[in-house]
Subunit: 200 residues, 2 copies
Amino acid sequence: MPAPIGFYFDFISPYGWFGAVGIERIAARHGREVDWRPMLLGVAVMQVMGLKPLLDTPLKGDYVRRDVPRTAAFLGLPYKRIDAPLTPLPPARAFLWLKARDPARAKAFAQAVHARHFGEGINSTTIEGLAPVAARFGLAGDDLREATEGAEAKALLKASVDAALAAGVFGSPSFLVDGELFWGHDRLDQVEKWLATGGW
Amino acid sequence: MPAPIGFYFDFISPYGWFGAVGIERIAARHGREVDWRPMLLGVAVMQVMGLKPLLDTPLKGDYVRRDVPRTAAFLGLPYKRIDAPLTPLPPARAFLWLKARDPARAKAFAQAVHARHFGEGINSTTIEGLAPVAARFGLAGDDLREATEGAEAKALLKASVDAALAAGVFGSPSFLVDGELFWGHDRLDQVEKWLATGGW
């Protein structure tokens, strides 16, 4: 069995969503599994790289506000922008809490969060916003609280963020293919060739 | 006649080189001219955006050192890395000085600088390094000094940088297609579709 493709993403990153959709299609064509690994752009960009948030960066922020809907349409994905300050902590923790129990269910949960948050434009990054999706995957009441605020969930996310940084990951999405790191959904053409040829 | 495609680039940016090669091929397929417009990443990134240079950014610098040769090979371009502090001022000024006199010759000059600098790994960003290429395009002696250090050349580059910033350009390469801005050689797929369809 070849190793799974490591897929690093931040739940608030629309580019991460583009990458999620793309890497699953590519992996399926090459008989690979995809291991979803949440990271936090806030930690990587601000704390480690010493940069400001993308949307607060002069020129680049304006560009990204245009590039995201344009790219979504180019890729054939529905997209609705959410104008609220977002934190990826609740979905990232809930995803990892689920993954520790049932990886396949966790991935389906993450895909449902993506579709609702980016595709339908319903903020699914708060615990309240997440609740309707979480319920479909068996997470409600005390379980949802535990999965988003409990010590285990917090520790799982911290470990996931640390592992991403240790792998050199700084952006969402990133892909780790047999030790080779690719950043950006716009490197999926190279990812696919790497899978097909073993590298160059 | 449709308007030319605006192509913004920094002479020290290998991604700008990838973009230069790509946009000329695409423009030819769609019967468009490409207007080459030098910008300065140092001004855009450090002064306007308040970020640090790409290669000095933790994690991202290491990634880019790997991504550039990998992407060059993916694109079928020869690439040799130059390990020296680089300034794009001499080639950018000489390009604009030539462009004011003969736009076609200026573009051929820029392409020759790209091929020598990135493809052969011969630093062509100093006046001395630039001299052998410049001579092939009629620039030598006092003319070369004037084109790289004279008041006219300096004013031309300042105007080019200001115009790029006014157009919202912050990265190399960027492409302006009928008022629509695209950043990155990895947006050339969207550029080509925009040219073919008029936008979406």
